[in-house]
């Protein structure tokens, strides 16, 4: 099994005719994802990699039965695209776009909350359920089906850790990239809940980073529901306060958001936290024994 997406997921790509949208649609198709529709206003009737392009999400859903959205629309149009996808009932709505203004994200999250839709991102690499479906931009060849759930705020660091797992023969149920922005949809806590409810996920890898308190929040959830082993890693242990480390959300401010506090909270909740990313796969192998 998997969480969020599986082999029945039918994906609609918004911004499919753009450079990123077109390239990653090809990669998703190669992965085996059912990409059934694209939307680019002004380009309805065209095709992108044999996928029909529509003017509106509503038409695309009506014609193709799409169930989930992947958004590559540039930052200034991302809010509108996401609100449109949520209004059409697509779930999950995965926003890859980087640089979305935070007040736009707040509207998107509110609409999603009211509509019961799960938004992943923005500023994220997407969601991958190996052997079933991939939405987003994670590299295809790294993954291997298996029992480990992976949830992370970062892209390449996730690839690094997933490659480490696959290299040791440990497969993944689903890998979720939450996104590097201060305001994102699905949180660590949401992801842990989903993985705890998924019978085929037997361990979870949680890759956090400095900024905010989402990891501490997840630790509180773990204290109450410690049913599956969690291996953690937190990036930014040596990052100076007040500096934004690449991600909009990766900043220690007013003493909040330090790596030390996150590591401490997770350890207290029973998670095993690695000091180096290279240790993660070994720790996972130990708990799976």
């Amino acid at each position: 099994m998997s969480v969020l997406i599986n082999r029945t997921t039918r994906v609609l790509v918004q911004g499919i005719t753009g450079y990123q949208g077109e390239f990653h649609t090809a990669m998703m198709l190669e992965f085996g994802t059912q990409v059934v529709a694209g939307v680019t206003p002004g380009k309805g009737g065209q095709k992108a990699h044999r996928v029909p392009v529509f003017e509106t999400v509503e038409e695309a859903v009506h014609e193709t039965g799409a169930t989930a959205a992947c958004i590559f629309v540039p930052a200034r149009g991302a809010k509108d695209a996401a609100l449109e996808a949520i209004s059409a009932g697509l779930d999950p709505v995965v926003i890859i776009t980087e640089g979305v203004p935070v007040h736009d994200s707040l509207q998107v999250m509110e609409h999603a909350r009211r509509s019961g839709v799960r938004v992943v991102g923005p500023n994220c690499p997407g969601v991958t359920s190996p052997g079933q479906c991939k939405i987003g931009i994670m590299p295809n060849h790294l993954f291997k089906p298996g029992p480990v759930g992976v949830v992370s705020r970062s892209g390449t660091l996730t690839y690094e850790i997933v490659a480490g797992l696959s290299g040791k023969g440990i497969g993944q149920s689903t890998a979720i990239g939450l996104g590097g922005d201060p305001v994102v949809g699905v949180s660590f806590t949401d992801a842990l809940k989903m993985f705890h409810d998924d019978p085929e996920t037997t361990a979870v890898v949680l890759i956090g980073e400095i900024g905010g308190s989402a990891e501490e929040d997840a630790a509180r959830f773990l204290e109450d529901h410690r049913s599956k082993p969690v291996i953690g890693y937190i990036a930014g242990q040596t990052a100076p306060p007040g500096k934004r480390m690449g991600h909009a959300g990766a900043v220690i401010s007013g003493g909040e958001g330090t790596a030390a506090a996150k590591v401490e909270a997770l350890r207290r909740a029973g998670a095993r936290v690695a000091t180096l990313p290279g240790e993660v796969a070994g720790f996972v192998r130990e708990v799976l024994r």
């Binding site: 930052a75 200034r76 640089g99 979305v100 203004p101 935070v102 007040h103 736009d104 707040l106 509207q107 999250m109 509110e110 609409h111 909350r113 690499p125 931009i137 994670m138 590299p139 790294l142 992370s152 705020r153 970062s154 892209g155 390449t156 660091l157 996730t158 690839y159 690094e160 490659a163 590097g180 922005d181 201060p182 305001v183 949809g185 949180s187 890759i207 980073e209 400095i210 905010g212 308190s213 890693y233 990036a235 930014g236 242990q237 040596t238 990052a239 100076p240 934004r244 480390m245 690449g246 991600h247 909009a248 959300g249 990766a250 007013g254 003493g255 000091t275 180096l276 990313p277 290279g278």
Partner: protein, 370 residues
């Protein structure tokens, strides 16, 4: 993007949030013709916090005293930031001090209004010591912050009468400012009672960097070093640190982890450069150029995990203009064979394991210092 106090107050004036009468000066002589009524308060305009403790805020009862203070504060260094401007304002007789802010709550995924009767001091201290003194309202962006929210919030911090009316007007206006100007924080601390009215004595506004593009009229405060500026112009993310090993990687999380790995093995990173996902040869060439310019850098560590990024592009970027210093490259992922071939032809050894590579770069730097 943080605004200076005087810039935030210019916004307040535009939205009709009451502030003290004042002006901004850059030179002493500008105090001469001033029509402001003494006593005046002189406040250093810097973006770092803690200017009061650093001696950047003084009250003057006369022109000569004002000049004396201005001479001391202008040009002063506050936590590495040079004071170029002073905000000079009529020093009001302040009664009770309140706190009001709108800020993005990352966990609630909502904008929240925060108010407290314990104004004038650091709100984080109040939150730790007396959380009961803080009132909060989470805002539905489609409903907005309405006057009734303002009345509820004001009553929670025990305001009534004229002050409550003022609070409702100021809070609803500050909310409008926050949304219209794309602020991630808009704070008044203290919101003080002067006479029988509320007045914004200080102002702090931080504009969301992701939204700056739709506000061409707002000032641009880029507190960037020359190298940070160069990186931004090339679309790269760069942070200056104080060690001697330059770091380039792809993806913010991976670069942060790279800093941690280097530090774990006893090295000191000089900077943080994220070439981003899908970096091209040209991006990589610029990245190497930028990190190598920093003085005191003794070695370069490149840590690339090729996903969307292609290792051969990275290798070509490195070899097209090699840095004038020792270099350790860790490269794995998409097109790694071709990348390795290109680097090998240029005499550069490629590591696959990041920890092994980090140990190597640390020993290079240590070896030279011994």
């Amino acid at each position: 993007m943080k605004l200076h106090e005087f810039q935030a107050k210019e916004l307040f004036a535009k939205y009709a949030i009451p502030i003290q009468k004042g002006t901004v000066i850059e030179r002493l002589e500008q105090l001469d013709g001033s029509t402001l009524t003494y006593p005046l308060v002189l406040k250093a305009q810097v973006l770092v916090g803690g200017r009061g403790k650093a001696g950047g805020i003084k009250v003057a009862k006369s022109l000569s005293e004002a000049k004396q203070h201005a001479r001391a504060i202008l040009g002063m260094d506050i936590k590495g930031e040079k004071v170029k401007r002073l905000l000079v304002a009529e020093a009001a007789e302040i009664g009770a001090e309140y706190y009001l802010a709108f800020v993005v709550d990352r966990v609630a995924r909502r904008l929240v209004a925060i108010a407290s009767a314990a104004g004038g001091i650091d709100i984080e201290d109040v939150a730790r010591q007396t959380p009961g003194k803080i009132a909060r309202v989470a805002i539905d962006p489609f409903l907005g912050f309405q006057p009734f929210h303002g009345r509820g919030l004001g009553r929670n911090i025990r305001l009534s009468g004229t002050l409550l009316n003022d609070f409702v007007k100021i809070s609803t206006t500050l909310y409008r400012l926050c949304v219209t100007e794309d602020a991630e924080l808009a704070e008044i601390n203290p919101l003080a009672v002067v006479g029988d009215r509320l007045l914004a004595v200080d102002a702090k506004v931080i504009i969301d960097d992701n939204a700056v593009f739709r506000h061409p009229d707002l000032p641009r405060n880029e507190e960037l070093t020359e190298l940070e500026h160069m990186a931004r112009a090339s679309g790269l993310s760069y942070v200056e640190l104080d060690g001697d090993i330059a770091i380039i990687g792809n993806g913010a999380g991976l670069v942060m982890a790279t800093l941690d790995i280097v530090a774990h093995f006893g090295g000191r990173p000089a900077n943080f450069l994220d070439v981003g996902g899908g970096a091209t040869e040209e991006n990589m060439r610029r990245a190497v150029d930028i990190v190598a310019r920093k003085s005191g850098v003794r070695a370069l560590f490149v840590n690339i995990f090729g996903g969307i990024t292609r290792c051969d592009d990275i290798a070509r970027g490195i070899t097209s203009s090699p840095p004038p210093m020792q270099m350790v490259v860790r490269l794995t992922g998409t097109n790694e064979d071709e990348g390795r071939r290109i680097l090998k032809a240029a005499g550069i050894h490629v590591y696959v394991d990041p920890e092994e590579a980090a140990q190597q770069v640390v020993s290079l730097v240590r070896g030279r210092s011994m």
